[in-house]
């Protein structure tokens, strides 16, 4: 039971790292980057190559995060920004096309085989906690997720940049009218979201296996997180991630036959009761 709770928490934190970018980008720009999972996969693969080259998980963490941030930034500047003036639908569909390209590119560069990214030696082994023995690395994942959540919360609530982002989520025309370069805010938030996706990819490497196509499963889970949590909100992404992580984990253990349906049921139930999601931020279009 405690082990499943920790497993659920670990999945929840991975999902949080992945969904928070999606969610806040949606709150600001009203579109969803379906290639977000692809950036997660990119982070994992770059991390894998870095470990193979340097032998260090920590360098992999840096390289994977940076790679996703850079590719995400280029995507934004080269493609998505141009579509900002057009419909959000187009942006979403373009990013859907990018999933195909990302998948095949990954197959070409890294091949078709699943590999496990070796975790850091420092965190190998297990730790006794709450009366159970639990892999130390997984505790690290939970801790990292909580730390990032705390930092983002502090950043959004207490800093000037955070205030601008919150204002942008609430009312973007008004924020732009205040003389704030909203385009730059979009860019920074988008790249930060991509970096977190890359970070999640590397961190997930030792837990899930790394392979071309690993992106779709997590993308769907994080879409559910965004829809359930209420788009645009950090708290929503956090609460949504925990709900989805727990339902998914306990579903697989207790009701493996219907685990998929369970998640759909959760989403349907939340939307039936609260069409805006649990903790929405800002007005919806």
């Amino acid at each position: 039971m405690v082990i499943q709770l920790l497993n659920g928490m670990q999945l929840a934190m991975l999902l949080f790292l992945l969904s928070v970018g999606l969610s806040v980008v949606f709150g600001l720009m009203r579109f969803v980057n379906l290639a977000h999972g692809t950036l997660f996969m990119l982070g994992a693969f770059v991390g894998l190559s870095t470990v193979e080259a340097t032998g260090s998980f920590w360098w992999a963490l840096v390289a994977g995060t940076l790679a996703s941030a850079i590719v995400g930034g280029l995507l934004y500047l080269g493609l998505l920004r141009r579509l900002q003036a057009e419909s959000p639908l187009k942006q979403v569909l373009v990013t859907f096309g990018l999933i195909f390209i990302g998948l095949e590119a990954a197959r070409i560069i890294w091949g078709d085989y699943a590999e496990r990214l070796p975790g850091p030696a420092l965190l190998a082994g297990s730790t006794a906690l709450f009366g159970v023995v639990y892999p130390t690395y997984r505790l690290f994942v939970i801790g990292l997720g909580l730390a990032v959540a705390a930092m983002l919360y502090f950043g959004l609530e207490r800093t000037r940049v955070g205030a601008i982002i919150r204002a942008g989520v609430d009312d973007r025309t008004m924020t732009a009218a205040l003389g704030i370069d909203i385009g730059r805010v979009f860019f920074v938030v988008f790249v930060l979201g991509c970096a977190l996706a890359g970070l999640a990819g590397v961190v997930a490497g030792p837990v899930l296996s790394v392979y071309a196509g690993m992106d779709m499963g997590v993308l769907v889970l994080s879409l559910v997180v965004v829809v359930i949590g209420g788009p645009g909100s950090l708290k929503g992404a956090f609460v949504g991630a925990i709900l989805v992580g727990m339902v998914e984990t306990f579903g697989q253990v207790w009701l493996p036959e219907v685990a998929g349906m369970l998640l759909y049921g959760l989403m349907a139930a939340v939307l039936a009761l609260r069409p805006q999601g649990l903790l929405p931020a800002g007005p919806r279009p």
């Binding site: 187009k90 569909l93 373009v94 999933i99 390209i101 998929g260």
Partner: protein
């Protein structure tokens, strides 16, 4: 946006059917297989066209209903041993029920959210069949029976006959959906697409109409799925992948969205192109993704205008 109500579409329909017939006469074994695949893809694309082109609902999970139809046929026909015709009807009904369950959640949400929900629901269905034990999980299941038409002297086991059968079903689906598109129901869907707020103010229970369109599209997609399962006598989770949903959406965009004949012709074009690409490279999905991105980029207002937008741009390039 408004469908061509003129008689010219009948001429185009007959020409398309004649072309398919001519190909059937001229082609060998492989050509017959391609023809059946084209007919199946055309049915699937026409069903999505009802959603995208008429109601303006862009679904990224349409393959789920295709796959559910195929699996349901395997379940009723192979596992339970029902006669294939009855199993097919039950499979179509299963597709409709699945679409109802997804639609009840999805049609409440607009635009980007609708896309997210359909993609998520489709992938969940895919994950379900990856794990299930009844139908062989990842490996899938063989032994799906074909429709028995021996009573009227047709051996559907023969690829040539099966291709004709698939073509016949595609023509029936075209006639049915053409009727639907040109009816007050179709007009109401277009009204919702063009101006949902106004449609509601005129007294239209918008959600119910979207749901009806979603269910019809799901049922027709399931019908296409039953044919796909019969063609290969095999079902696997591949039938429900998001890549297939994406492919069909490309076909619909290329075919002009709202035009049933346009998307059918685009289906033929796409199947041909895909076979060419896949003989050239293992990574044809790369090209497909690029095509997808370019199509969306050049689309004017609304993705159903993609091809028109492309022509316009080309014309502008050539102009002074």
């Amino acid at each position: 946006m408004t469908p061509p109500a003129s008689g010219t579409r009948h001429v185009v329909a007959v020409l398309l059917a004649a072309a398919a017939g001519g190909y059937w006469l001229a082609s060998g074994y492989y050509g017959k297989e391609l023809l059946a695949e084209t007919a199946i893809t055309a049915i699937l694309a026409m069903s999505l066209s009802l959603l995208v082109g008429q109601a303006g609902l862009v679904s990224l999970g349409h393959a789920a209903f295709f796959g559910i139809g195929a699996y349901a046929l395997a379940g009723f026909g192979a596992r339970l041993g029902w006669p294939p015709a009855l199993a097919m009807a039950a499979a179509v009904a299963t597709g409709a029920v699945a679409a109802l369950l997804v639609g009840l959640v999805a049609v409440r949400l607009a635009g980007v959210f609708f896309i997210m929900i359909t993609l998520a629901a489709g992938e969940m269905a895919h994950a379900w069949f990856l794990k299930d034990r009844l139908f062989g999980g990842v490996g899938g299941m063989a032994g799906v029976p074909r429709l028995d038409l021996s009573a009227i002297g047709i051996d559907t086991g023969d690829p040539a006959s099966f291709a004709l059968l698939a073509l016949g079903v595609a023509i029936l689906v075209y006639l049915l959906l053409d009727r639907l598109v040109l009816s007050p129901f179709g007009q109401t869907l277009r009204a919702i697409h063009q101006n949902e707020e106004r449609a509601r103010a005129l007294g239209c229970p918008v959600g119910r109409y979207k749901l009806a369109a979603f269910v019809v599209a799901g049922a027709v997609a399931a019908l296409a799925g039953t044919l796909a399962a019969q063609r290969s006598a095999f079902v696997s989770p591949e039938l429900l992948t998001w890549t297939l949903s994406g492919e069909v959406l490309i076909v619909v965009i290329v075919g002009g969205g709202a035009s049933l004949l346009g998307v059918s012709a685009a289906a033929a074009l796409w199947i041909g192109l895909r076979h060419q690409l896949s003989t050239l490279t293992d990574h044809w999905m790369l090209a497909m993704g690029a095509i997808f991105v370019v199509l969306v980029l050049v689309a004017g207002d609304g993705i159903d205008g993609a091809v028109r937008g492309l022509w316009r741009r080309l014309a502008q390039r050539r102009g002074p």
